[in-house]
Point group: C2
Chain length 328, copies 2
């Protein structure tokens, strides 16, 4: 590969800005531009020489972009954008509504397959790196239990969901692992724990003027997929408090697989992340998978793919021979 | 896949016995038999109904075995066995002499490619799961440093190397991470550390009658690839002491990737293993990759592969749709 992989970014929230930053660490890629549904002149890219275009003009770039990285939200943006854009471009997205992945995959796969495009969906850390580690644990040591813990951290997907509730002006959501549950898992007890047993969700919400606090709270705690299955705490704060105390976006968590390879022989695999910036990390994962998407498309591997379908080596700018020599 | 994947095991040391045990957890696989260079009647399988054959008869099983799992040592067995058997069977091995992997890969690839067989080499945890985590770290967060620590644990490859020194009757080797080095990495200091700075190697050796202790010690500490680059301690013990104090085979370690996705934004990825039995874990990894080898061969993906070339999903008995639904 002598030519650079040409990337377009769709959407310029925290994730889109993270992709811009991540691309600066990848000399084998170049950023063609940022595409927005907003007025392009209202967008300020992180990089000085970066172009911003209206998303309406994206079809003009069909020969100028190798992979589009979609940085919209899973609730409203991606279900529409991913299939539509996968019919015209190779894409990577970070769709993260776990229980709707099968139907989302089917829609994107149909669009990408018939257009001979490659779409890598649900990329990031969960779904993403955590999913891979759940799979490795279960496949290597089938006689065991896998536990995923998240936080303490700000969850982009859940914060996004909170902010879309009518009456909410601004807000964030933290996922907090239950200390008691972690201790039981680390002890090798292999307890039966629901996601609800393992975590608490805490929201800090700024209300719009005149909004009904109780109605907002109910809309949040009963929201299916996002909050209904959890103990959820909703705090109302002022705009000033939110900005002062809740503008960093740390996150993290771990996947622990505890198993016995034979009676009494305990084997523990653990993967963990400690992230100062959740969107910048998710963005970094997406950029690595954009490299894979490009290579898969070059190899005529069309249709939708997830992290499960993609060999680790495809993420690296190094050649297979170099990887064997340097990293194996 | 309705038929079971038919497996043969070559070699019946700790690793071969581990493969036997790991296969009992895999209902999609069946063990055809164990193949040994020793007298078959001298081998006692873990399972009662398991057949043992002479390795000389292996060509009689070319239509009866889908994948051979090679459980010999990297120093003397695999450089000969892997290319020879990859010319007649699909194979998985755990070749672990890191700096000779390129030439080993070339030899196996040539044999497997021309015979239209699939060979997955260097499978286990290092090389293997640790390698994958080094790659993910570097590919996702290029502006960072990756640190691999091993132990405290008994290393099969290095123990094997010790036992092959003339004058050694029996022996084991422990790899011990340096506490000081770990503390510096966890502090996010990103120090420059050689493998020698990070670990100490300690051997417990039983001499053959009449052997020259000093000559044995010198042969061990100066052995290239295995000991020459480390601080190595050699202790001589009685056969009784060795059996009493050194017959368990625990191991473990971790791969830490510390990076900054932007100035001052720290991101830490960590993978760790705590293993009661090193050979049983390595065996479990090999069995999962035997499933991948079988599928790659069915897809006419011939030649040598490493863990870098194999998508995570190929390790699981579940279908891609099931994996997306259950684990993504």
């Amino acid at each position: 590969m002598t030519e650079k992989i040409r990337i377009g970014i769709v959407g310029h929230g925290n994730l889109g800005r993270g992709v811009e930053v991540a691309l600066t660490h990848c000399p084998d890629m170049e950023l063609v531009g940022i595409f927005t549904r907003r007025e392009p002149s209202g967008i300020t890219p992180v990089g000085e020489a970066v172009s911003v275009y209206s998303l309406d003009s994206i079809d003009d770039f069909r020969d100028a972009i190798d992979v589009l990285i979609l940085c919209g939200g899973s609730k409203d943006d991606l279900p529409r954008q991913s299939p539509a854009l996968a019919a015209r471009f190779n894409i990577v997205d970070s769709y993260d509504t776990h229980n709707k992945i099968p139907e989302f995959y089917a829609a994107v796969d149909a669009a990408a397959s018939s257009a001979e495009r490659t779409a890598v969906i649900a990329v990031g850390w969960d779904p993403g790196m955590f999913s891979i580690n759940r799979l490795y644990g279960e496949a290597i040591l089938p006689e065991g239990e896998t536990y995923s813990f998240w936080g303490k951290g700000l969850s982009q997907g859940h914060s996004d969901a909170v902010r879309r509730v009518p009456g909410v002006k601004a807000g964030v959501q933290y996922t907090i692992p239950s200390e008691k549950a972690i201790a039981r898992v680390r002890d090798g007890e292999q307890p039966a724990l629901s996601t609800r047993d393992k975590h608490v969700r805490e929201c800090f919400v700024v209300l719009e003027e005149g909004a009904d606090a109780e109605a907002v709270k109910q809309a949040i705690v009963t929201m299916p997929d996002y909050f209904a299955d959890y103990d959820t705490i909703v705090n109302f704060v002022s705009r000033e408090e939110l900005q002062r105390d809740h503008s960093a976006m740390p996150h993290g968590g771990f996947v622990i697989h505890c198993a016995q390879s034979a009676s009494g022989v305990k084997q523990v695999m653990e993967f963990s992340l400690k992230l100062d910036s959740n969107p910048q990390f998710t963005a970094s994962v997406m950029v690595a998978y954009a490299r894979a998407a490009y290579r898969l498309h070059c190899a005529k591997e069309y249709g939708a793919r997830t992290v499960f379908d993609i060999a680790p080596g495809l993420l690296s700018p190094k050649s297979p021979a170099q990887l064997r020599k340097e990293l194996l």
